[in-house]
Amino acid sequence: MSATRITLFSLGVLLVALAGAPALADDEPVLTVYSGRNESLIGPILAQFSEDTGIAVEILYGGTSAVANQILTEGENSPADVFIAQDGGALGALAAADMLQALPEATLSRVLDAAFVSPAGLWVGLSGRARVLVYNPELLDEMGLELPGSILDLTADKWRGLVGWAPTNASFVANVTAMRVLLGDCDAEDWLAAMIANDAQAYPKNTPIVQAVINGEIPVGLVNHYYLYRFLAEDPEITATLHFFPGGDVGSLINIAGAAILQSSDRQDLALQLVDYLLSDSAQAYFAAKTYEYPLVTSVDPSVDLPALADIEAPEIDLSDLDDLQGTLEMIENSGALD
């Protein structure tokens, strides 16, 4: 009779469930990391950390802005020990809310360029990344378009419907914050409105934008510099190329991925051990070789053929001024970019 069959099936399912249960109920003390960086970028090095030190790490992944907001909401209760962000502004927002623990000088001094460290010593940069315009040269030729001199030029009519962007992505959010700081709220708001009016194509993240440019769905997209190299590593034939906006344009913002320790963490020592590990030569070499970012310690060089960090004509800006995350998020939402 069929009910018997179902009973057997449910029993089987239950057995599998029970077999899985021990894996779920593990009470060992672990370091909890909230990561605003994609798992594919930071996951392997965190796994390596666990392997090298024997310290178990639990990682919550999400968008940097989302994770920062989550920590702000959780407040004192946050299970997070370490926050890894892909934007100095999000770290700044937590610093401004007085939630971060000051880092020791020995940790901070690993990073030579003071621009990539919190002035109050509350967070430290782990790797550097530049905002760029990724483009498909053939498609651009076909369409008779020339590369723009500034991110602000992308609102021109000839770019209608042709620009990919990721309005919820933290690096993009930071870029808009930089616009607010350098050009004022009004100009930033106008740029967003003009981009939307110009039918900018929204993507959930940077990777799909690069994929779309490679596929020829769109000729150009606003992304971080390193995503393209992941595709090039799979397929060197790809012709998509990076364009750095010249002349200190706000579109060439250099930002950091960084880390901070939560004041509320009761595992400060382990947390610091992780941050130091991420600044070690081996971890920095990992960022250079695997995520194609700029290492921030002098002893390690970028792994791919990138313009030197110092040669990028980036805008003059203090990363810790990018801390009005909430303000920018609201501006982006009110602009209708998320609709």
Binding site: M1, S2, A3, R5, I6, T7, F9, S10, V13, L14, V16, A17, A19, G20, A21, A23, L24, T32, N38, E39, S40, G43, P44, E58, I59, L60, Y61, G62, G63, S65, A66, N69, Q70, L72, T73, E74, N77, P79, T168, Q201, A202, P204, K205, T207, P208, V210, Q211, N215, G216, E217, R230, F231, A233, E234, K290, L329, E333, G336, L338, D339
Partner: protein, 544 residues
């Protein structure tokens, strides 16, 4: 083959209206009421919390609600719902008729393959449709020789509607088919004898008899559209669920709560409308004599178009997703550097689904008993409230629970019990429904006899009622299992840190554009779901 059991009974048109006279013969009634009350209290947590959150937002919440952008979201959701329901019905009626009543070759095979679309979660269909029909997708590469350089972007309304149409049409096929098979042959014969042609008979006689079944199926489809998160998120269509997700992800709870309440109100309005519109006309036999075997419609020259139509529907609903997944499996595109063993995913997915199914079935039993055997107003209200999951989209439950736990129940925050609670609230109606309809088929005289022969109320419950209702309870169990396994928003938001299932793995791979990494968990999820569905269908078929 009786397939209508897949549809939760609240949506079935053939639900029995009458109640049996009230004499309590099963179990300790007060105890059942107490347990039921506790279950209903859990079910009400999300609603209560949304109200608190929305009220807490105060004037800001009102302003947010009245923005043009919020109104745009409402109209987006409604447009998606109407278009999808219309298209799904348009596909489902001929599909049900062709596979149910016509001399279509291998029609059972066509039917089974068409219904298989139900086991493919909306987010997988959406992801594969974007690949297949995108500007530079598979379709474009087929059309390339014809000089088609790029196709228009389907992201947005078109993509979301297309996806949901092919995900939901089986929900209309099932009741439509059941009604077609029960239709009265005498009426059709009368039509023919009065000189109507085949089309006129279908339109004027067969179709009106389908109306109650169709309205049930269309309601299912409409509710599915309002609550679906995966398809609208992938297709970037700014419907309610996507807007709520964006707010929830950023932990902006006041705005998310306002949107959530509006969505609930919209869903309830829909249910109310449906029950009002529900035709009271007679659709049953009134003639004397037995209902006769239905006549198979001879398609004649229309056979080939009929076959092509069914094949096309199956191609879209089932073949395209599978083809794209296999293409990704074979392709060498960038894959995620994070390797998650498939057996870990399978273990987590099956484990949490099984645990949830057991919890839900246990919680549903007292409520189903009250529903089937009780008559007091209090009992009926408890049961009504327990069905709240039908109007609470997953994303809304998730947002309320994450808000609730992070503020007030830290010990539950990011734990499996909270995740299972979320599933339980969402899918409790499925289990109550299945159990209730099984209980209603048990003649209360059995229980009375047991009592008169000296069994206590508790004994009569455990020895008579539950064993007799076993098939229904197990069907509910399987139905919950099936739905939990492919659930996305509750899983994404409430899962413990580091807990991965097929659904979350597919989502994160999609999110980072590691399309190849979608293939294996996607195919595995479809395989497991299809096996469970197969078991349910076999059970339906052999049930007495």
């Amino acid at each position: 083959m009786q397939l209508s059991g897949i549809i939760p009974p609240r949506f079935r048109s053939d639900r029995r209206q009458g109640r049996l006279p009230a004499r309590w013969h099963v179990g300790n009634r007060q105890l059942l009421q107490a347990i039921s009350l506790a279950v209903v209290a859990c079910v009400m947590i999300p609603v209560a919390y949304l109200v608190i959150g929305a009220v807490g937002a105060g004037q800001d919440g009102v302003d947010y609600l009245l923005r043009t952008r919020t109104i745009l979201i409402v109209s987006n959701s409604l447009a998606l719902m109407l278009a999808t329901t219309f298209l799904a019905t348009l596909i489902a009626i001929p599909f049900a008729w062709l596979t149910g009543r016509c001399d279509l070759p291998a029609r059972q095979v066509f039917l089974a393959l068409g219904l298989a679309a139900m086991v493919i979660p909306s987010y997988l269909t959406a992801v594969t449709f974007s690949e297949a029909f995108g500007p530079k997708g598979l379709l474009q590469s087929l059309l390339e020789p014809l000089g088609v350089d790029r196709l228009p972007n389907i992201k947005g309304f078109v993509g979301a509607t297309l996806t949901l149409t092919f995900v939901t049409f089986p929900y209309v096929v099932l009741p439509a088919r059941a009604a077609l098979l029960q239709a009265d042959r005498a009426l059709e014969e009368a039509g023919h004898s009065l000189g109507l042609n085949r089309w006129q008979v279908f339109r004027q006689i067969t179709l009106p008899q389908l109306r109650p079944a169709l309205s049930a199926g269309m309601l299912m489809t409409a509710l599915y559209c309002l609550s679906d998160f995966g398809a609208v998120a992938v297709m970037r269509f700014n419907a309610f669920t996507r807007a709520i997700f964006i707010q929830t992800e950023s932990f902006r709870m006041d705005k998310a709560s306002v949107l959530g309440l509006v969505l609930i109100a919209l869903t309830m309005l829909l249910l109310l409308l449906q029950s009002r519109l529900h035709s009271n006309g007679r659709h049953y036999r009134i003639g004397t004599g037995a209902s006769r075997e239905l006549q198979t419609v001879q398609l004649g020259r229309l056979k080939l178009p009929g076959v092509l139509f069914c094949a096309a529907v199956i191609f879209m609903g089932v073949a395209v997703p599978l083809l794209v997944l296999f293409k990704w499996l074979a392709g060498h595109m960038i894959t995620s550097p994070i390797h998650v063993p498939l057996d870990t995913l399978a273990q987590n997915t099956v484990g949490v689904s099984a645990a949830s199914a057991l919890v839900v079935s246990a919680a549903a039993l007292p409520l189903a008993l009250l529903a089937a055997r009780a008559s007091s107003r209090f009992d009926r209200w408890l049961v009504k409230l327990a069905y709240a999951g039908n109007v609470l989209p997953g994303i809304v439950i998730a947002l309320a629970l994450v808000f609730f736990a992070s503020q007030h129940m830290l010990s539950l925050y990011q734990t499996l019990p909270l995740l299972i609670l979320g599933y339980a609230i969402r899918f409790l109606p499925y289990s109550i429904g299945a159990t209730e309809s099984a209980l209603e088929q048990i003649n209360p005289r059995f229980e009375e006899s047991a009592r008169s022969l000296g069994l206590t109320a508790r004994e009569s419950l455990l020895r008579i009622t539950v064993p007799l209702a076993r098939a229904g309870i197990l069907a509910g169990l399987a139905l919950v299992f099936l739905n939990v396994m492919k659930e996305l928003p509750i899983t994404l938001i409430l899962r413990p840190i580091g807990f991965r299932t097929f659904a979350t793995r597919i989502w994160s791979a999609y999110d980072e554009a590691f399309l190849s990494s979608i293939a294996l968990p996607g195919l595995a999820l479809i395989l497991v779901s299809a096996s469970v569905l197969f078991v349910i269908l076999r059970q339906e078929k052999t049930a007495p």
